[in-house]
Structures are given as C-alpha cells and as structure tokens.
C-alpha cells in the first residue's frame, strides 16, 4: 500500500513531499538515471525549481507517467464523489425543508389567515343571533382566536428578526387584542339592545378585513415564497457533479485504453472497479434525482398549487359569509359608491365580490385536482355554493321587502338557511385541503426518499473508486520494479 500512496501524492507538485519519494524510485528504475545526472549538475538551485525539474524528468518516464495518471484519476473520482455528495446534500436538505419546514409554515400561515377570517365570520353570526347566539358559534370564535394566537407564536419562532414577516407578526399580535376588544364591546352593547353594538361590530369587521386579513395574507405569501425557494433549491439537476462524473468516467476509459495499447491486457481490475463505482454513483445520482424531482414537482403541481387555490377559496367563502351576516347587522349603515355612481350597500357589494371569487376558486381547484378523491369535495362545495347563492337571493328579497325576521332566519336559522350551505362549503373545502395536504406529503415524501443515502453513498463509493484507480495503476507500476 505504500507505493500507491506515494504515487498519488506526487502530482500536487509541491516539492517537499516529492523530494524523498523520487530519488529511490528513479534509482530503482535504472533507465532514466543517466538522463537525470545532467539535470542535477547545476550546483545552486531552489528546492522548488529542483522539484519541478524532477517532475518534468519523471513525466518522461513511463512509471512517472503512470504515477501522474493514477493520481489524476484518483483525484477526479474523489472530486466527483465530493461534489456529488455536496450537491445532493444541499438538494436533499432543501427537499427536507419543503416537506418538514417551509410547507408546514406555509400551512400555519394559511391557518392564521383562515382562523382570523373565520373568527370574523363567527363574530358576525353570533351578533346577528343576539341572545340566541348558539354556544357552538361562540366556541368556534374563541377557538379561532386561540389558533391564530398560537400559530403566530410558531410563525414568529421561524422568522428572521427584522424581516417583513416579523413586522407583520408584530402588527398582527397588536391588532388581535384590539379586534377582540371591539367584538366584545359589540356583544355587550347588543345584549343591552344598543344599536351602537352594530357600529362596534362594523369597526371590528373593518379592522379585520382592511388591516388584519391583508397582513395575514402577506404573511401567507411570504411563507409561500419561502416554500417556492426551497422547491427551487431542491429540484435542479446537479449538473456540476454530473459533468465531473462523466469526466472521471472518460478519464478512466482513456487510462484503460492506454493500458491496453501498451500492454495488450484487456482488463485492469482496479481501473474496472473504479469505473464501475463511478458509473454506479453517476447513475444513482441521476436516477435518484430524477425520481426525487418528479416527486417534488408532483407535490408542487398537485399539492401546493391545489392547496393555495383551496385556501383562497376558503377565505373567499368566509368573507362572503361575514358580509352576508353584516348586511343584516348594519342594515344600510354603510354604503359604497361604485364607479358608475351607483350607491350600493357596502356589505351586499362585498358579498357579491367574494361569492364570485369563491366560484372562480372552486373552478380552478376542480381543474387542479388530479383524482376523484380530490374532485369530489370540490364538487360538493360547488353545489353547496349554488344552493347558497339561490338561498341568498331569497334572503335578499325578504330583506328588501322589509321582512327582517325572515331574512335573519334565512341566514342563521336552523332550517334551509344560507348558514347550512356555508358550513357545507367550508367542510368540503376542509376535506379537499386534507386530501391535498396528504397528496403533497406523499409526493414530497417519495421525492425525499429517492435521495435517501445518496450523499453518503456517493462519498463512500467515490472513495472506493479512487482506491480502485490507484490500485489498478499501482499494479501496472509494480511491473517496473
């Protein structure tokens, strides 16, 4: 084993290690000795210059060339292994982040967004019901606030201080108690029969819709950007490693051809082993990466994209629902002037916008769903939305005819109310979200699995390959002894 190590250490060209190695070698080889003496005659030379000269001299002899070739091949294979390990590791880390870090955080941000919108909807429904507020509505409201608060803490822990997300989280943490205060004032006043409660509720709704939800949406978008970055880091092919691998394979092939031409021997077991391991690493890397890529791309196309669309649709349905409640709470207290100078009820207008957004979202979600299990809940949500719209028209008619009681029970009643439709839409969307999250986890998990062991495997195999190359060359070299 000493010899191959020496020869592999020779090419780096540094004079110090080559100095003790070369003289005995050249002495043993015999043939180049006479040529070497004139080179040694100049009396005063630097160690470096002497080393270079010695190298140059060695390159002219076959053993010297063999040593250089062996060293180069070993270096190529080791470099290939190192780069392959490094590049696959960074991709595997990014893929792992997609699955275990950025997507869950994006989900958390979506949960904050959703909880806030849901809390607002529940507050409006509860207000409209007044003293008959169902305990479930109140509980859901409290749960939403709790969810939002605790997810904000998680999000804060995963955010760099000073980033845009950190600012948003601070703002949301300040606004949340403000919002809750307004809702409680609304409730307290409503319980005393004071219409100022309605004004408080509108103020709460305004805080939520115009300050908190846009911020929550921004946070969600930031987390999605982070997720997209991780996807961007996980999916490109490791081109540098592939190129080095091909180069190493080419070098090994050339060395074996040279060997064959000089000695007429077909196989050099060391070089063959080196070629085989290099080829295995290269193949493993390309195939594993292709599979991982496919899995990750699939998780993006069928998971992340669908999840985004479904989240947006769910928010639209929540906003539509809270507007629908507020039409009856505000009773014309707030109007909006459209571009064509037409004056409309602000919440009536808001409802129309959101229900249209819900319709578009469901259509998109349907086109993105890739299996019947994904399409089914979307279809249910869609049909519930249609019923919702037609019931809402009935409610509007009753409201416009001044039949407040009928309108109110049409919105929050137990029998054939729009509330039932909203609940159905919401539950179906939750089902769809669960399904798509599962799809995402499956695909991204498969992708990540395809990279399992690749980093360590590439490193170990490349070392073995390098050893093979050195041994193979060493065997040829030993023939010169």
């Amino acid at each position: 084993m000493t010899e191959p190590q020496q020869s592999s250490a020779a090419p780096p060209g540094t004079a110090v290690p080559t100095m003790p190695a070369l003289p005995p070698q050249s002495g043993r080889s015999g043939a180049p000795a006479p040529r070497r003496t004139p080179a040694a005659t100049p009396a005063r030379r630097t160690a470096l210059a002497e080393g270079v000269d010695q190298l140059r001299a060695a390159a002219t002899t076959e053993p010297g060339r063999l040593r250089a070739i062996g060293a180069l091949l070993a270096l190529l294979v080791v470099a290939f292994g190192a780069v392959a390990a490094w590049q696959t590791d960074s991709r595997a880390t990014a893929a792992d982040d997609v699955l275990h870090h950025s997507q869950p955080l994006s989900s958390d941000a979506a949960a904050i967004y959703r909880s806030l919108a849901d809390a607002d909807t529940m507050a409006a429904s509860g207000y409209l019901a007044g003293l008959q507020e169902p305990p479930a509505t109140r509980e859901q409201y409290e749960l939403d606030i709790k969810t939002a608060a605790s997810k904000l803490v998680t999000a804060a822990a995963n955010t760099d201080p000073g980033s845009s997300s950190a600012g948003i989280i601070t703002d949301l943490n300040q606004l949340l108690p403000q919002y809750k205060g307004l809702v409680e004032s609304a409730r307290a006043n409503n319980r005393q029969g004071f219409p100022v409660g309605g004004a408080y509720l509108r103020a709460a709704n305004d805080t939520m819709q115009n300050q908190m939800l846009p911020k929550a949406q921004k946070l969600y978008k930031n987390e999605n950007a982070r997720l997209n970055d991780d996807y961007g880091n996980a999916t490109p092919y490791p081109w540098f490693a592939i190129a080095l691998g091909l180069l190493a394979l080419g070098g090994l092939a050339w060395a074996q051809r040279r060997n064959y031409q000089r000695t007429n021997r077909v196989l050099n077991s060391g070089l063959v082993a080196a070629s085989a391991t290099t080829a295995v690493v290269l193949l493993w890397m390309v195939v594993g990466h292709t599979i991982a890529r496919a899995g990750l791309n699939d998780s993006f196309d069928h998971g992340v994209k669908s999840l985004n669309v479904l989240h947006d649709a769910q928010i639209a349905s929540l906003k539509a629902r809270s507007d629908e409640n507020l039409i009856l709470v505000s009773r014309g207290a707030e109007t909006k002037t459209l571009a064509n100078k037409e004056v409309v009820d602000a919440y009536d207008w808001g409802y129309d916008q959101e229900i249209a957004a819900l319709g578009r979202g469901l259509k998109l979600a349907d086109s993105l769903a890739d299996d019947s299990a994904g399409r089914k809940p979307v279809a249910v949500a869609n049909s519930s939305m249609q019923v919702w719209k037609s019931r809402h028209d009935t409610v509007s008619d009753a409201n416009n005819a001044g039949d407040y009681q009928k309108a109110r029970s049409g919105v929050i009643g137990d029998n054939k109310s729009t509330g039932e439709c909203f609940t159905s839409v919401d539950e179906s969307l939750n089902l769809a979200l669960t399904h798509e999250t599962e799809e995402f986890r499956q695909s991204a998990g498969d992708g990540l699995d395809a990279m399992t062991g690749l980093t360590a495997g590439a490193a170990v195999l490349a070392l073995l390959g390098a050893a093979g190359a050195v041994l193979g060359i060493g065997r040829r070299l030993s023939e010169y002894r």
Partner: protein
C-alpha cells in the same frame, strides 16, 4: 310646451347655482341697490338666452351666473331655509291615486332607519320588531290609511341608508321615508315633505366630565367627530375659525353617526356633533355622555314622499294634526315621553311638536 321646457331648464339651473351660491354667501353683502338692478337685468337677459346657451350655463362657474341666481332667487322667493318647513300643502282627507294604490296593494312601504336608538331600531332582546319614535308615527299613519283593516303587518319597514332616502322616494321603492329626515331647500327640489313633526338642531355631545360646554370656544384643541356628508360636518368646516376655534381638530368623517359614539367611547374623539335628536339617541346608549349646550341650528323633521303624491302628503298632514294634539297613548306626546324624554328632557325645544304652517 316650449315654455314648460324652458321652465324646467331654468329650475335645474338654479338648483345647481344655489349650491354654489351658498359657498360664496360672503359675496352677498357688497351688492348695493344699483348692483342689484344690474344683476336683475343680467338675470332676465341670461334666462331668455338660456335655451341657446345651455352648455355654457351648465358650466355655471362664472360670476355673472352666480349673481343671476341670487337676483332671481330674491325675486321668486322660492325657497328660504328658515321657512322651508312651511312649504307643505294643507291637510286633506281625500283618497287620491297614491292612497288608492297603497290600499289596493294592501300594505304601506316605509323607508326607516334601523340603527337609531329610540327613533327606529331593532331591539334584539324584545320581539325583534323595529321600534322608536319614527316607527310610532309610521304606525299612526298606517292606522289612518287602512282604517279598521289595519294590522302591524300592513306596514313594511325597509332599512334605507341615509344617502338613499331621496332616491328611494323618487324611484317609488317606498311610499314614504320616516327617518329623522330634515326638511331642506335642496331636498324639496327632489321630494315632497309633510308638515314638520319634530324640531331639533345640531348639537354637541361629549362625556359628562368633559370641559366642553357647547358649540363654542370650549371646543378648542378638541377632536370632534361627525358623519360623512352630514350637516354637522359641513357646519364644522364652515364655522372653524369663526364660531368655533381654529384649533378644533375635525376628525375624518365616519360612515355613520353611530361610529362617532364608538370613537367617543374608545377615546379617539372628544366630542360628537350631530343633530340633537340623534345625539340624544347616542346619549341614551351611554350614561357617561350628555348633550352639551343648546342646539346651534334649527331643523325640522318631515315625512318625505314622492312629489307626485300630493294626496298622500295632504293626508299625512291631516294625520299629523291629530297626532300632534292627541294626549292619548298613541299620540305625539306619549311617544315622546316613551322614547325621548329620558335623554332630551321636558324643557328641550324638541319637547313639543312644531306648529305647522302650510303653503
């Protein structure tokens, strides 16, 4: 026919100008008798040329146009804000086309407010029906129109936003609007009003402990809230630096007068300016605030109806005659005692119904 078209064009034109005129009211003083004569001549010439110069007249911003409006206004004496409440036709009992149509339909469509405590609001804790001073009046009107066939279901109360009161009447979405609606010259161009049924004025509302004493210097450096497009908001901006100190901080106008009470309670505002009736309605919802000083304007509430519904206007005036004087449980005084006495008191200028004068 040609005359009719000209008249309509003229009245349109003057309506637009009267708005501009109010802004430039300061100009009124310098016109002497001579100037006035010149103005009148100009006015006549202008009016005669109107059909030809329609597009130029519509621009209406030139000074000549303004003086014209003033001159003719003075001559015609058509509408004066101080007597605008006296422009309603005399009471009558006859059923006309409008009343017959209502009877045939079987119910009365009325635009009301549903957020004004003690005036028209939905009590979530009682029957879930609307109640208040305005609602009492609506039922008194319906009782008279339907006579023995009256029942509460003969009335359909529609929530009408403040800025939709006039369009709702004009487009006949409702037969009438009973919704703390002040009789003004501008509105009189678009709708017909009954004789006044309530007198009030813009007033300041502030916490009881506040140093604010009324619409005066005590408002210095205070944050004052008012509703968008309200009389209060217009007056605040006009009076700033004159009747009230220039240091008054007029807050961004809110969509609804009740939003001012929210701001007041949250400590974002120091005072609210709105009309006394609504200020009283706010005070009724918060025992820590009260009306400060006396009303600094005089305004009359009337029932707004379509301009074509003269029979209905006259009938409502007849109903109001009895309603005002009735001492029974369904009269004006009983309603006032029930809804408004606790906050407005018995010494308020609003404590008695206004005396009607007819056209």
């Amino acid at each position: 026919m040609k005359g009719g078209v000209t008249m309509r064009a003229r009245s349109d034109f003057f309506r637009r100008l009267s708005a501009v005129r109010r802004v430039r009211a300061g100009l009124r003083g310098w016109g002497g008798v001579g100037a006035m004569a010149v103005v009148c001549v100009l006015a006549v010439a202008f009016v005669l040329l109107l059909p030809l110069t329609q597009s130029r007249g519509e621009a209406g911003a030139d000074l000549g146009g303004q003086r014209t409006a003033q001159g003719v206004q003075a001559k015609a004496a058509k509408c004066d804000e101080s007597t605008v409440q006296d422009q309603s036709p005399p009471p009558a009992d006859a059923d006309g086309t409008t009343i017959n149509a209502i009877k045939e339909r079987g119910y009365l469509n009325v635009g009301v407010d549903q957020n004004s405590y003690r005036w028209g609001y939905l009590n979530p804790n009682s029957s879930g029906e609307l109640e208040g001073f305005d609602i009492d009046l609506v039922h008194a009107i319906a009782k008279n129109i339907f006579g023995s066939s009256y029942s509460p279901s003969k009335v359909r109360l529609l929530a009408i936003p403040t800025d939709q009161r006039i369009p709702a009447v004009q487009k006949k979405r409702v037969d009438m609007v009973v919704r703390t609606m002040t009789i003004t010259c501008t509105r009189l161009d678009d709708v017909a009003f009954s004789a006044p049924y309530f007198v009030t004025g813009q007033q300041v509302l502030a916490p009881k402990v506040s140093t604010i004493k009324g619409y005066n210097d005590t408002l210095a450096h205070k944050r004052v809230c008012s509703a968008a497009t309200s009389t209060a908001n217009t007056r605040l901006h006009a009076d700033k630096g004159h009747k009230i100190p220039a240091s008054v901080d007029i807050l961004k106008a809110v969509p609804n007068q009740l939003d001012c009470l929210v701001e007041l309670q949250l400590g974002q505002a120091d005072a609210v300016v709105t009309d006394g009736a609504l200020a009283a309605s706010q005070a009724a919802q918060d025992p820590t605030v009260e009306l400060k000083g006396t009303p600094f304007t005089t305004e009359y509430y009337g029932v707004a109806m379509n301009k074509d519904a003269t029979d209905l206007v006259q009938r409502v005036n007849r109903i109001l005659e009895t309603y005002r004087t009735s001492t029974g449980p369904e009269g004006w005084h009983a309603s006032y005692t029930k809804w408004l006495l606790p906050t407005l008191g018995k010494d308020s200028p609003s404590a008695n119904p206004p005396t009607p004068h007819y056209k």
